[in-house]
Symmetry: C2
């Protein structure tokens, strides 16, 4: 199967969770909006609804033959069992998906640190509110989420070092991405958390060293973090 991934071409954003899964799977895919033969126009044709039966609300969406799947976690639910990135039994798939949905919740909170009032406004127009929101986020939400994933790993038997058990799943790739992003956005505030939650940090390291992920991260396919994405480094927020 050859996939077409549709996502904004200049940011990691939510598309990156899908890219990491496709890369780890060694899947063949075109990142359409970044491809000279596709581009943004190809993506917008889907969103205006003319060329698709089941209308996506927003990117990312993935085309696999005649199926078009949107919503990041839903795309991973679809890809997981097809590429050995999720357990094959139902209870394991639900559990992996549950972890992913909890990360999706975390991601909204991460985004809203710099956009607490409206995505349609510039950061500069909500800077004061962003400071207030980020302070509360760093103080209580980061420990709540990271502490949760640390506990999930701690509850597993000693030899099961991945979130959903003995084998890597898309949820591990996603947690890696979130930890990388937090480190980029809040290097100062992340330092203490990186010492405290050792299990997730060691998982992050092991994901980074996987041959396909390492090759991807070193390639031009990996877009750098930047201040148009979800994880933004604004030094004034990283207090």
């Amino acid at each position: 199967m050859r996939y077409q991934l549709y996502y904004w071409p200049t940011i990691q954003g939510r598309g990156e969770f899908v890219r990491l899964a496709l890369e780890e799977a060694g899947a063949t895919y075109v990142d359409v909006a970044r491809d000279p033969l596709g581009g943004m126009r190809a993506m917008m044709r889907f969103l205006d609804g003319k060329s698709v039966r089941r209308l996506p609300f927003a990117p990312p969406f993935l085309q696999a033959g005649r199926v078009v799947v949107a919503q990041t976690a839903n795309i991973l639910l679809f890809l997981g069992p097809r590429h050995g990135l999720a357990p094959l039994e139902e209870a394991g798939q639900l559990w992996t998906h549950q972890l992913q949905l909890t990360m999706a919740d975390f991601l909204v909170e991460i985004h809203d640190t710099h956009h607490p009032i409206a995505s349609s406004l510039y950061y500069e127009d909500q800077k004061k509110e962003a400071r207030r929101r980020t302070a509360a986020f760093l103080e209580s939400r980061v420990p709540k989420y990271l502490g949760y994933f640390e506990r999930v790993l701690a509850k597993n038997p000693p030899r099961e070092r991945f979130l959903a058990g003995p084998r890597l799943t898309y949820a591990d790739l996603s947690l890696f991405q979130i930890l990388e992003g937090l480190h980029y956005a809040f290097p100062r505030a992340s330092r203490a958390a990186e010492r405290k939650y050792r299990r997730i940090q060691s998982l992050r390291q092991s994901v980074r060293e996987r041959p396909r992920i390492a090759a991807y991260l070193a390639s031009e396919r990996r877009i750098a973090f930047n201040e148009d994405g979800i994880f933004r480094h604004y030094p004034e927020l990283d207090a």
Copy 2:
């Protein structure tokens, strides 16, 4: 199968999406935290992680025999095909779930109208920011989401009046709940939208009239909307 639903006992909240599905299915369930034999202690035992292998991050979660599923959309993904509330083929299930995840995104934005800075702070401590966020939300986000679901219905063949086709799914029940909630929270601002998006309003009406849903809404099992839930009526925000 007899289910145990675990959710906060005094609000509709995210648990309501699960309750509506269980009620429409005619399923046998205990709403544990509201049950004299269960109560909040039974729910907290799960969250402290001692009595469960796969730790939920937060309520709601559903116990079905030995399986414990958390995250609202994930619970519905699990229940859907078991109770005729989702298509049986994979593409249809992914589509229904995709619609549900888009509603989950909408729901976070609805919640954050009254809590734009932090859930841990009182509304009174973020009232000024709430006004700003709500204004942007009503102006651009409500039309974006409601317009999307209206388009989804408009794209279906004429006789398929439910979101995912000719048969009711859990996504329709969830859209009903969101429309009810918006009407409760923003009666003034909702008026124009209720005239404009006729397809979703007629879906809302048809869900309300389903015998099991009507009986549920009239029963004591249906908690009233209130100012501790996701949908809160603060007249100063409903401008």
